[in-house]
């Protein structure tokens, strides 16, 4: 897969993660690593540029807060626009995969 496709997928996964509950970068990392091995690559730091891009696009919003372990962390929340984007992407994805399934069945 090309890098920007991968990036787009990573952003989608972040949105999906945050749709369950607000979370910090490390929490998202754990979730992504569990849900999709290898998508983040080896380095956990590569999550952050994606977070910043999403925040600049106002799809998510970050805020400094205390975690339950009394650590300071930047907690990201999905915005209304982010939620809308996620729904659109999921629909697109569903359509695309349905099309693919048909294609594979008839090929």
């Amino acid at each position: 897969m090309k890098q920007d496709h991968l990036q787009g997928t990573l952003e989608l996964v972040i949105l999906k993660t945050l749709s369950a509950a607000p979370n910090h970068g490390f929490g998202i990392t754990l979730h992504v690593q569990q849900a999709s091995t290898g998508l983040l690559g080896v380095e956990e730091g590569s999550l952050y540029p994606a977070l910043h891009r999403l925040e600049k696009q106002r799809l998510i919003q970050g805020e400094w807060k205390k975690t339950e372990n009394a650590r300071r962390a930047r907690i990201y929340t999905l915005t209304a626009a982010g939620r809308q984007r996620l729904t659109e992407a999921e629909t697109n994805w569903a359509t695309l995969s349905k099309g693919l399934q048909k294609l594979l069945r008839f090929a």
């Binding site: 990392t29 080896v42 730091g45 952050y48 910043h52 372990n69 930047r74």
Partner: protein, 840 residues
Amino acid sequence: MKEDWQDEIDSHLEMRGDWNQAQGLPPDAAKAEARKQFGSPLRTWEDIRAVHISIWLDTLWQDTRQALRGFRRSPIFSLTAIATLAIGIGATTAVFSAVDPLLFRSLPYPGADRLVSFGFFGPIDTNEFHLAGMYLDWRTRQTAFESMTSMLPAGTCDLDASTPRRLQCVSVEANFLKTLGIAPMLGRDFLSGENQPGAPRTALLSYDLWRSQFGADPNILGHTLTLDDQQIRIAGVLPKDFEMPQLGGIDVMLPAQWSETAARAPNSTIFLRTFGRLKDGVTIEQARERLQPLFQESLKGVPPELRPEVRLVVRSLRDRQIHEVKLASWMLLGAVLALLLLACANVANLLLARATARRGELAMRAALGAGRGRLVRQTLTEGILLGLLGGAVGCVVAWSLLRVFITAAPEGLLRLNQARIDLRVLLFTLAVSILSALLFGMAPAFERPQAVFRKFLVAAQVAISLLLLTGASLFARSLQKLETQPLGFQPARLVAASFTLRRQKYRTPQAQVAFYRELEERLHRIPGAFALSDSIPPRGSMGRPYSNIRIAGHPPLQPNGGMVGFRYVTPGYFQAMGVRVMSGRSFEEAERATGVPPLVLSLTLARRMFGSENPVGQQVDLDGLGHWGTVVGVAADAKNNGLSEPAGPEYYRLRMDDSIQLGLSAVALFRTAADPDALTPWIRREIAAMDSSLPVTVTKMETRVDAYTNRPRFIATLVGLFAIFGLTLAAVGLYGVMAFLVAQRTREIGIRMAIGATPGNIAALIQKHALVWTGGGVAAGLLAAISLTRLVRGLLFEISPQDPLSLVIAAGVVAIAATLAAWIPSHRAARVDPAAALRT
């Protein structure tokens, strides 16, 4: 920003460390593992920054495209705004490029801020000077300067070549260039031994002379040139951009060779121009304090009656150079900034009108999710884009304006020939464009309902244009007074031919007397009144102290009388110059042979010396050296201090037949009934017949006098130009607001007409609005004019800065322009068709 990113990364590492520890790793290993898992924080930073930059650029590009699309959609708005800004920014740039070399750009010497001019300042001269004997004392004892240096007042010398040339020659102390921090471009600087009288003469050529006379020959060093019949070895060539610190012309620099003995002699008159480089950390103020004791001591050598009129001057080289044009430069800069402000107000007004028209569009974009910040950004982008476009066109305007300035009045401002639009000026233009954009871009933030801010802007424009117009009419009236004042002499149909005899050829008194005798004979053949003089108005010659004058049978005169000028003239002088002899008589030809030289006093001098007593027939000693003479007449005052200063006291001495007192420089005057231009070749022919190598300058007196009004004319033209621009912009602004209001109130007008208002009522209603704002603007403008024009008192001639006529003219012009600008919209309003207006 970077700290925030770092905090976030740290927080991640800590949480990962906790996690790793929970998985059973020891604390240190847990932290190390966390760092490994995270990867390079530096790369993460870079990636984050790249994200931010690319998003910023994306938005900028979108905003720019959107703004340009918007401009294309409303071309009239865009073109008006850009043209307005181009005028404002262009004029500002042009003026800045002209005054920058005077006010801001550093002088062409390394460490120029530590260079000063210093010396005595007295009524003899307009600039500070030194006397060689005292200078020697100061040089050994001063503690203010790292180095001080001197030059003799600039003079001329004659170059012997295939075509002889008169050159500007300056004799300097050997450390002159070193003190300025300049090294010759070619060859070597002077050596201190070369200042000794009798030392072999060497010279430094100016770059221009090196090119024009020696074809830029790189092997010129060691060659000789013949100056005033002396062989002088060429030691070097001055750099191309070299400038004398007093801004005088220079072709050849020579080591001064005056002897210390001569300098220290009691009656020594070796005058010097003196400059110093301040020691590190010494301010001009401190230097003045440190020189004060030396000055007080030197003052003891000055005749007591002159002491109160002499003071110590220490001032920066820049002040020495620009003291005459400093005020003019700041005034022009102020005037053009006022114009720029007016242009910004105008564009702000246009933007407000457009904002009202676009309220729908903006509301729609806000509804579509554009945040408030995004909309502000969009507005700001539009503003800056307008500013930059205006600035770009403004550069073209500036370039053309500068050409106009230079062509209109090459002598209008010092260093005008150095004014150009270079990178430094362009950076200034860029800054001005962006600043203007921020200024007018803020306008929508201030707007209130009922277009209150727009009305305020219109009033401000009216006020500024009134201020500019007041300035323009003050300068125009001042110039007119300067040009039409009585001069005390008649410049029309008067031709002056000036020349300086070559020192070597006319070394002996006999040679000089013989030359002038033949010259008079030859020039008398030319029809008209003819005279010889050593100097002519509107300049004087160096004078002598008034307090030295003695009158036979009278008590000594009051001290502190300043200086009295004098001229040596032939009998035809008063007739040729057109100076009226008010009492007594003029000189007669017969008096020139022998006897006591007769004297003619100027009216001012006669009044001061004799009060109401009759001066004619009195015996006076005017130089205090025992040269007694008889006063035969009193002549009207003739301008001898330039055109803007009142005439100072002076007297005329008859040039006797055997006199060498005319000296080497003389002016031949001709008053002719014929065309003055036809005289020029005739005069040249007669002089060339005697000495073909003698350079002669022949000018019409009117041209000479005109040269003195160059600067006032330049100022009046520029401020006049700005006032016209300003008035036009203000009128356009007023028209714009009025038209907008009429359009906005069409329904209301329709209702009023439907219930019986006449078209006249409606027009009056609209005009009343215009009257209120212009009235406010005029009032504010008058207040500003009255308080600000005081600052330019120094630039006005025989006119008060609060000259009522100028204020009335300015207010009248503004009122007429405002009425015209309001008339069109008000009549459009009067023609509104109520039926059509109410149906929409």
